[in-house]
């Protein structure tokens, strides 16, 4: 009796994401037309700019790598049912820690220095993730608030370090110092994998990490615990799992992924410096927030996140070509990403409703007259018909 509903559920889960993307692109087309540009032309330029040549593909991959690492970190945290909104701060801390390491040991050979700066980045992010994780686990502090606030702390710390201790004192601009480090040791630069493109080692690292985290979540007992704790704290408690430690570790690991993304942003950049403009997004390019979208778009699965990170990287890179070809501001791409989020959330809502209906029809109907707002919490245990 549920076959019809199941079919609809299946449809929703398979078409929801492509439909969200198509919906966003359609609305984007209308906006381009409003700017007086030809949408077909615009989108052709966007696709061309993002995926049309080996150079474009390389640029897209380089843009995608930090997004992917953040998304993978978000997957870990969200699977533990912790909402890590602190990717921005964790990226910044990772960038600072890795840059400081490169500044401290400029003469180490590449084979040692590159792994070292990547680990330092991960460690910096991990520390910045462990704090809200432990606060949530042991003191029940809302992680959404604490991670957002730690973002603010991170940006101030970054501004301070790039105004004093870590600033490039050799480069004076008019009246003051530029908030950037000096050129980092070439031994720490991420090597280019394909000549003639920007494709660097960090892209490979990000993809390997994504597979490793997938493996961690579904093939290790630690990942098993993370998922159990994320889905049901009572059941995990009864099963004897160390719930608090697991939540803390999941957030630490999530922060480590974001910190690694920060290291990639420093050592995979064209300038090979840590540069900021006083705001947080100046360094991160909002990767800490866009990574959440990438993770959700990839269904909180690190392997699907590889595809969705590449797609979003392409949107960002192609946006510049779009601007060149049509004169439409590349900010349109930001709007497209926002629209995609709106469509995903809406479709997710419809899917949820279809599922609740399916459960309600199969077991107990939605709350009676008096209680239209009753959450369907009691619907899970199928009664005898």
């Amino acid at each position: 009796m549920r076959s019809g509903v199941d079919w609809r559920l299946l449809l929703f889960s398979w078409i929801a994401l492509p439909a969200a993307l198509v919906g966003a692109l359609l609305v984007g087309a209308v906006m381009m037309a409003a700017f007086g540009a030809d949408p077909i032309n615009g989108y052709r330029a966007l696709v061309q700019g993002a995926f049309g040549s080996s150079y474009a593909l390389g640029a897209t991959a380089v843009k995608a790598a930090p997004l992917l690492l953040v998304a993978v970190g978000i997957c870990i945290a969200f699977r533990a049912n912790v909402f890590n909104i602190g990717g921005e701060g964790q990226i910044a801390m990772g960038g600072l820690a890795s840059a400081a390491t490169a500044l401290a040991f400029p003469n180490l050979p590449s084979v040692i220095l590159i792994p070292l700066v990547l680990l330092a980045g991960a460690a910096g992010g991990a520390a910045w993730g462990a704090i809200p994780g432990a606060f949530k686990a042991y003191f029940n502090v809302n992680e959404i608030l604490s991670t957002i606030m730690l973002n603010l702390v991170a940006v101030q710390l970054m501004n301070f370090l790039l105004a004093g201790p870590m600033v490039d004192k050799s480069a004076f601009s008019t009246g003051g110092l530029i908030p950037e480090t000096r050129l980092l040791s070439p031994n720490s630069w991420l090597p280019i994998l394909v000549p003639g493109t920007q494709l660097h080692l960090g892209v490979l690292v990000a993809v390997i990490v994504a597979f490793a985290v997938y493996f961690l979540l579904w093939r290790t007992s630690f990942g098993f615990r993370i998922r159990a704790v994320g889905l049901s704290i009572p059941a995990a408690t009864y099963a004897g799992m160390p719930v608090k430690r697991t939540v803390t570790l999941a957030m630490t690991l999530s922060g480590a992924m974001c910190g690694l993304a920060g290291a990639l942003l420093v050592f995979g950049s064209l300038s090979h410096r840590l540069v900021t403009d006083g705001s947080l997004t100046g360094f991160t390019g909002s990767a800490g927030f866009n990574g959440i979208v990438v993770a959700l778009f990839g269904g909180l699965n690190p392997i699907y996140a590889i595809v969705s990170a590449f797609l979003f990287g392409g949107l960002v890179v192609g946006g510049n070509s779009l601007q060149v070809a049509t004169g439409v501001p590349s900010d349109l791409v930001t709007t497209l990403i926002g629209l995609a989020v709106v469509f995903i959330v809406s479709l997710e809502y419809l899917r949820h409703r279809a599922r609740s209906r399916a459960l309600a029809l199969a077991h107990v109907a939605p709350a009676g007259a008096g209680t239209p707002g009753t959450p369907p919490a009691t619907l899970v245990d199928g009664g005898s018909a």
Binding site: G370, T371, G382
Partner: protein
């Protein structure tokens, strides 16, 4: 029994309150209801009796607007009505109390009752007036509920009273109760029956769905028996006996013991309020008195959710090879006791010792490591991760055991082999190991938890509410497994609000009242009445005197 219910409905009109004619409902080829006729007069309790799957609930869901009938007609007060949704049903004055309560756990009783109704003060709420009306209704119907209590703090019995209050507050003409006694203790059942009688006296029509003969006989004005979606017949309660009903239900006469099982009665016939002595079906207890106790609890005090001590200086012992049953009215500290033994809840004083190992203050992982098997009361919330697959839930407590993980990596092949063998050994009905656990029936989820806990070969097995809300076949299976554990020498402690279950399973019964053991009974030497009195807080010596007094009058 029937003397309190008027033989004739009080405000009789020509047309009955409700008439259902020729209701047919099919699901994907299965006929759940086949031309069923059913009617309810104002002022009567009309019971629907039949096995699981006989079509009782389907018929009532048609009436309440969850299902559209494929054929048939519904009339209220003689005029045809179309009920396409629960909202329609409510508009026609129909209320329904489900097995799973429809309450908002984080709101107060008063808020739950008023939810969805227009306020007397327009856009503003009027909590004072709501509470006052609830108090009036509570008093009229002896429904003890504090309007200001928050729902999550309430016991199952109290939550059901809130549901009834909701219906009364909405002034329903017809109230459907779907197996309302399945979750209640004997005392709570008696209270409920009194409330329902009074509602009938006030002229409301009641539909009572049950497969417990004793309750149906004790409460009903009329009884309709369904079998395989057909109406077998309708008869006045005065003309019904247990044997007639059971025969109608199963289609042929049963041997007495089987009849008792089929109707959920582990006890003797027609023990309506439990004043007849038990037949004593419990098997003779093995000679265990000489073995040292495996689980020893001393002077245990455990705080409850509401800040007061739920368990107060409780002591008990369980030996290997015996089943000890804890009986009691819900909310007397049973849940907190089980949680303290399993390590989920901290005790404030006293000790818990398992086979000589101190467990006081241990966490659940340590309790398990020492040899405790634990089946929690809230199986879908605590016993399994509902969104995990069957295999993942079978692994839940063993994910770091060397047999299933090496250096932190899960050993997929060993795990699947282990899970497959458990699914087969415990007859867990699931399409595959990867099926989400939430789609299994309650009985199969309970078998899954039992499989997981028993596969660890526990030395002490603690099972809370072993068969609450699960079907008869699965319940019988679980009872067999518990007896098997006793035969293997495991110390088994069950906590159950189903006195019949405790009496049929346990070698010794400890009755809990207000956080401590008020008395001990043996199922072969005590009656339901004696245990019932203890559950009501009357100490055994006093209980004996009272029982004797009753016997002589």
């Amino acid at each position: 029994m029937n003397a309190t219910i008027p033989a004739e409905p009080t405000d009789r009109t020509d047309a009955p309150l409700l008439e259902m004619r020729g209701i047919t409902k099919r699901f994907a080829g299965v006929v759940a209801n086949d031309g069923v006729d059913f009617d309810v007069q104002a002022g009567e309790v009309h019971s629907l009796f039949g096995e699981n799957g006989a079509g009782k609930s389907t018929l009532m869901r048609v009436l309440y607007g969850f299902h559209r009938p494929d054929a048939g007609e519904i009339r209220m007060h003689g005029s045809p009505v179309t009920i396409g949704s629960p909202a329609d049903a409510i508009r026609h004055g129909i209320g329904m109390i489900h097995q799973h309560f429809m309450l908002v756990n984080t709101l107060s009783v008063a808020d739950n009752v008023a939810l969805g109704l227009p306020s007397s003060r327009g856009p503003l709420t009027d909590p004072g007036r709501v509470s006052e009306r609830i108090r009036e209704l509570s008093e009229t119907y002896h429904l003890r509920v504090d309007p200001n209590a928050v729902v999550w703090q309430l016991s199952v019995g109290e939550r059901q009273r809130v549901e009834i209050l909701k219906a009364l507050y909405r002034n329903v003409a017809l109230l459907i109760l779907d197996e309302p006694t399945a979750v209640l203790t004997p005392q709570e059942v008696d209270d409920l029956i009194a409330v329902l009688r009074q509602m009938a006296q006030d002229g409301k029509g009641l539909v009572f769905i049950s497969h417990k003969v004793r309750e149906v006989l004790g409460l009903s004005t009329r009884i309709t028996v369904l079998r395989h979606g057909h109406r077998v017949g309708t008869l006045p309660a005065s003309a019904a006996t247990r044997d007639i009903l059971v025969e109608m239900m199963v289609g042929h006469a049963l041997a007495p013991e089987r009849a008792a099982v089929a109707t959920g009665e582990a006890l003797s016939d027609a023990a309506i309020v439990g004043l007849t002595p038990a037949a004593g079906q419990a098997p003779p207890a093995p000679a265990v008195a000489t073995t040292p106790p495996r689980l020893v609890v001393r002077d245990l005090t455990v705080p409850g959710d509401r800040g007061t001590d739920a368990v107060r200086g409780l002591g008990l012992e369980v030996r290997g090879g015996e089943i000890v049953g804890i009986a009691g009215v819900s909310g007397n500290g049973q849940r907190e006791l089980a949680e303290a033994i399993s390590g989920v809840r901290r005790s404030t004083s006293g000790s818990i010792v398992l086979d000589g190992t101190e467990l006081t203050g241990a966490n659940p992982a340590r309790a398990r490591a020492v040899g405790l098997g634990y089946v929690p009361e809230e199986r879908t919330r605590d016993g399994v991760v509902a969104d995990f697959s069957v295999a993942e839930n079978l692994l839940l407590v063993d994910s770091t055991a060397p047999a299933f993980s090496r250096l932190g990596f899960l050993r997929g092949r060993e795990i699947r082999r282990h899970c497959q063998s458990l699914v087969e050994a415990f007859d867990i009905r699931t399409p595959s190991l990867d099926t989400p656990t939430r789609t299994l029936s309650g009985g199969n989820i309970q078998k899954l938890i039992m499989a997981r806990e028993l596969s660890r070969e526990p030395r002490v097995l603690l099972v809370a509410q072993p068969t609450r809300g699960i079907d008869v076949a699965a319940a019988r299976y679980i009872h067999e497994r518990l007896r098997e554990q006793r035969a293997r020498g495991t110390a088994v402690l069950i906590v159950s609000e189903d006195l019949d279950e405790v009496m049929s399973l346990a070698d010794r019964i400890l009755v809990m009242y207000e956080g401590s053991v008020i008395g001990e009974a043996r199922p072969d030497a005590s009656t339901r009445a004696e245990i019932g009195l203890m559950m009501a807080g009357i100490r055994p010596d006093a209980a004996n005197a009272a029982a004797a007094a009753r016997a002589t009058t």
